[in-house]
Symmetry: C3
Subunit: 128 residues, 3 copies
């Protein structure tokens, strides 16, 4: 249902994303809060890699709770705090996206809501 648009007049996407995703009328929409690295037992991993994987697992579980999955992702917004985590982020993202390429924005902010959090990902999903 989602239609990928990568304008030939614009540089190719620099990573696993699409320049734009089009969604036709009559979809149901899911707006997902910024997911953070908190496990069901209240623990926050110290390092970036387990934090990032936990964020993606939370995102998967939230999608699943609404009857959606990774391929329904329309837009991701990624908030990170350390530039040095970017290669690890890309490796983990590519694994979880399984070839799907949602529209994406990624910026480095000064801090997230808790000082130990290193990454937060919010998402918009849609399914016809």
């Amino acid at each position: 249902m989602a239609k990928i648009h990568n304008a030939p007049t614009v540089h190719p996407p620099v990573g696993a994303y699409s320049h734009a995703i089009e969604i036709p009328p009559n979809a149901r929409w899911l707006f997902i809060s910024g997911q953070i690295a908190l496990s069901p037992d209240g623990k926050v991993p110290d390092d970036f890699n387990p934090q990032c994987e936990l964020v993606w697992m939370n995102l998967q579980n939230v999608l699943k709770s609404a009857g959606m999955d990774i391929k329904d992702l329309v837009k991701l917004t990624v908030f990170m705090v350390r530039e040095t985590d970017l290669p690890a982020f890309r490796e983990i993202r590519d694994r979880f996206l399984e070839g799907w390429r949602p529209a994406t924005t990624l910026v480095f902010v000064r801090a997230l809501a808790r000082p130990q959090w290193l990454i937060e990902i919010e998402a918009i999903a849609a399914r016809a």
Copy 2:
């Protein structure tokens, strides 16, 4: 109309938000600019609490101008600059939300468009 999804496999939300909000087809949508602490007479309060309350009042008034209200909020994105304002933000948010829990992302950025602004809240709302 909006359907709340809090996946049982994910930690409970750490505050007055939902992990995800689903909106069915055939809603009308309202995209609201980042609201800042500016009163109709052009004044900006010095302190965080009156700034935050003014932002929420502006948000309420923008919703009202489109025939919507707080319960139509689907997603909030909160940009703040000082971590020390977080408890006050939560207290004021909880009061204005009146029990409703939209999907929410909150990050600390380096600065907002004017140096005196301490908080900016943008929102997406929908009504069937």
Copy 3:
């Protein structure tokens, strides 16, 4: 199709944006990734002004690839890194928007995905 809402109870917008944009049911939606200053030949301009103009041209081209244009923009989110670039941003934005005023949020983040990037603009567009 898009309906502008500027609540009379809220300060006038402080720039070329609207407080809120309403989109009725049955629109098709376009979610556009954060556009950055990268030309099709892989070059990044050094200065802010050519970067900002390139971002806007990329945004225009992405819209065009989906059969949309500037007047279909519903929401812009602008991420910048230097406050001193704000006057130049406004001048360039006003030129590209050609009188249209989408809902907009603008914040200053610590950094973008590449250290040389000074501005990133993501967008949501809709057409009935």
